[in-house]
């Protein structure tokens, strides 16, 4: 088997899959990428046994065969060769020899038969949506996913396909992020995509109207994006009932300039307790006061003009949660809706219900 190819023709597809290769593996073959050649095409496959990425590219060759190569080493070599360099990849027993100009690399290979690939997966639901839409759903919510939480079903993103909408929901138990978009789907489905798969998927999606084909099965989700096929295992668990957690509009509804509030909170956060990040919000007529102090007894106070008249309220929050939500929202204004100091706060764009953020307060 032999492959003669230009650097970019191999580097680009490899770049699309190499991220999924873990730096430390339990099986040696997982450090490798599977290269399969057929008539005038090749595919590259990388996996960490949870997420599998396959990409396909055309090349002029009549050879066929398959082998696995050390993924990161191959990637680093290609990356550091000059642009548009001509590359020759040949195989000699258990070694692969990569030649380009006056460079020559001998790489160890492992048999393709040892490489774990997914079998044919049955899918129950298929839908197509613009890549931009799916990318937005993920970007508006993924920051709220839990990380290594013992409630393992929180370490991922819920995709809920229901009522002509695709909804993405993430929560770590302290705050929740919700985003939805209209889609056409033949059936309903609710699945949890693990954290790593979510991050990988967000990276692969482009900000374009080109379609992403989403297929959902019992144990897997697959997304086809152009020449790339992404498949991830699903988290088997019951996601909390997010509808119950998202409050209706509260008793105190505040309109604020989103960026003004965000920058005021960013400055206040500097003097909040580094570990607990608590800030105190004092709501009065036409005024929101933000205060923080730290164990060194340093203090910050900011006043933000807001559109509100009604009862006063004093409530504490982890400032990082507020900043995450304000950063993910768009629009000039933000609508904050409170009930009391022990109930959650709802943040959203006053003109749209598509993105909603729920944050539980802190008792300060």
């Amino acid at each position: 088997m032999k492959l003669e190819i230009q650097r970019e023709q191999l580097l680009k597809p490899l770049q699309n899959v190499v991220n999924v290769v873990e730096r430390r593996q339990t099986l040696p073959v997982l450090a490798n990428v599977l290269l399969e050649m057929h008539d005038n095409a090749f595919t590259l496959t990388a996996t960490d046994l949870e997420v599998e990425l396959v990409t396909r590219a055309s090349v002029i060759t009549s050879d066929s065969g398959e082998v696995t190569l050390p993924a990161r080493k191959l990637f680093d070599i290609l990356r550091n060769l000059p642009e548009e360099a001509a590359i020759q990849l040949g195989f000699d027993g258990e070694r692969a020899v990569l030649k380009s100009g006056r460079s020559r690399f001998t790489l160890a290979t492992l048999p393709a038969a040892d490489f774990p690939t997914l079998d044919e997966i049955p899918f129950d639901l298929e839908l197509s949506l613009p890549q931009r839409t799916l990318k937005t759903l993920i970007e508006k919510t993924q920051f709220a996913m839990a990380q290594q939480d013992v409630r393992y079903y929180l370490n991922g993103l819920l995709l809920d396909c229901v009522d002509g909408e695709l909804r993405a929901v993430a929560t770590d138990g302290h705050r929740l992020a919700y985003a939805c978009a209209a889609v056409t789907a033949a059936a309903a489905a609710q699945v949890i995509v693990p954290r790593k798969g979510v991050q990988e998927l967000a990276r692969l999606l482009a900000d374009s109207d080109e379609p992403a084909q989403v297929r959902i099965g019992t144990n897997h989700i697959q997304v086809v994006i152009g020449d790339i096929r992404f498949t991830s295992k699903l988290i088997d668990g019951k996601f909390p009932d997010y509808q119950r957690v998202i409050p209706r509009e509260g008793r105190r509804v505040v309109l604020a300039d989103r960026l003004v509030l965000r920058t005021a909170l960013t400055r206040t956060a500097i003097l909040s307790n580094e570990k607990y990040r608590g800030v105190r919000l004092q709501l009065d007529n036409w005024l929101l006061r933000v205060q923080a102090h730290n164990p060194e007894q340093e203090e910050a106070e900011e006043e933000v003009e807001v559109n509100y008249s009604g009862d006063g309220l004093e409530i504490g929050f982890n400032v990082a949660y507020l900043l995450d939500a304000l950063g993910a929202l768009d629009g000039e204004l933000v609508k904050l809706s409170f009930n009391d100091a022990n109930s959650s706060c709802l943040l959203q764009n006053p003109d749209s219900e598509d993105c909603r953020y729920v944050i539980m307060p802190m008792r300060l």
């Binding site: 013992v150 393992y152 138990g173 302290h174 957690v245 570990k275 607990y276 022990n342 539980m360």
Partner: protein
């Protein structure tokens, strides 16, 4: 003694806890022998072995090197106590739904007194089954439970059909169960006492029961009276919730007094390692480290220092031992006892703001 209301005690014990958490979090480890503890090439020990590894004779507290010889294809995993502590808190939250009277023994073990619990119409067996299901739902992990009328028998019961076990020892079964039990399995009987009992011709609970209280007290002092009770299936120890432990330490007295500071430091390191393991097992982190020195003339001194952040790790404790020892007169004065204690345990969230939760 007055007639007492029959108690209902449940002992909940997580199956191969640390290893089970690792297998839960890393699907690649499922179905494979997993050993949580020091790496095989180190002088570390096994903290927990998965059931797959136990089949090869690996058990906790065994040196990792020996475990490696028994089961070379096992996956050795470094313990993640932070995660175990967090899982343990979730388990404790689950237990809290069934009783106020919970006595945690370690991260993976607790007693509950459900005598007055109204859950499951008061059936302790049904409560135990419920608890197992609730723990699995909340954490994805498997627990064994033992139900009986005191702590001694509840603990023995939880061991009866591990893993995923649920066993009951009723008041009617208790005496027969104890009669058949080898003395080594009795609460408070370690290897040394077991040897002494065997030398006296006492091998089982029935043998123990045949001896008079006075004879047992004659041989074993106060402990003898305790064995006399246990042999009858009697254990009145209450389930003590929230043992508010203030410090945790270990000390050792030497057969001959020490005068070499290097040797003293070696002893302190061994004690600190023991304390660190204990702290981790109980999920505690402390701010203050104390070294205790008793000189040959029985005068004792202590030297302490505090950490900026609460800790429980040997790596944090170890470098401070030499500093504290140097602040005593150990060396010029001979030493008969050394101790290491950690105190000032953190209390969650104090004064820092309590984050409320969505669900």
């Amino acid at each position: 003694m007055k007639d007492k209301e029959q108690r209902k005690i449940i002992h909940v014990d997580m199956d191969a806890f640390y290893a089970a958490v690792e297998q839960r979090d890393d699907p690649r480890l499922r179905g494979r022998p997993v050993i949580v503890g020091g790496p095989p090439a180190s002088r570390g020990v096994v903290a927990t072995a998965s059931y797959e590894a136990r089949r090869f004779g690996v058990h906790s507290a065994m040196p990792s090197a020996q475990a490696y010889r028994l089961c070379p294809h096992a996956v050795f995993v470094k313990p993640r106590f932070e995660v175990y502590r967090a899982v343990s808190q979730h388990i404790r939250a689950v237990l809290g739904r069934y009783s106020e009277l919970i006595e945690p023994l370690s991260l993976d073990e607790a007693y509950l007194d459900v005598s007055i619990s109204t859950a499951c119409r008061g059936s302790a067996t049904l409560i135990a089954r419920d608890i197992k299901q609730a723990i699995r739902a909340a954490t994805g992990l498997v627990a064994s439970a033992g139900v009986s009328y005191n702590k001694f028998l509840a603990k023995l019961a939880s061991d009866l059909d591990k893993p995923d076990g649920l066993a009951v020892i009723t008041p009617a079964q208790g005496p027969d169960f104890v009669a058949a039990l080898p003395v080594g399995r009795f609460h408070g009987i370690g290897r040394a006492t077991e040897r002494r009992l065997l030398a006296l011709g006492i091998a089982t609970g029935a043998d123990l029961r045949a001896r008079s209280r006075d004879e047992l007290v004659g041989h074993f002092g106060k402990a003898g009276a305790w064995y006399h009770q246990l042999a009858r299936g009697i254990d009145e120890r209450p389930v003590e919730p929230d043992r508010a432990r203030k410090s945790l330490g270990a000390e050792t007295t030497f057969a001959t007094d020490l005068d070499d500071p290097a040797e003293m430091l070696g002893q302190l390191r061994a004690l600190a390692a023991e304390v660190a393991t204990d702290l981790a097992r109980r999920g505690l982190r402390g701010r203050t480290l104390t070294v205790k020195v008793r000189y040959a003339d029985f005068e004792s001194v202590t030297r302490s220092l505090s950490f900026a952040e609460p800790t429980a790790t040997y790596a944090d404790l170890e470098p401070r031992l030499a500093v504290l020892l140097a602040r005593t007169e150990a060396g010029p004065r001979r030493v008969r006892l050394l101790g290491v204690t950690v105190s000032g345990f953190e209390t969650a969230g104090r004064g820092q703001g309590l984050q409320l939760v969505l669900f």
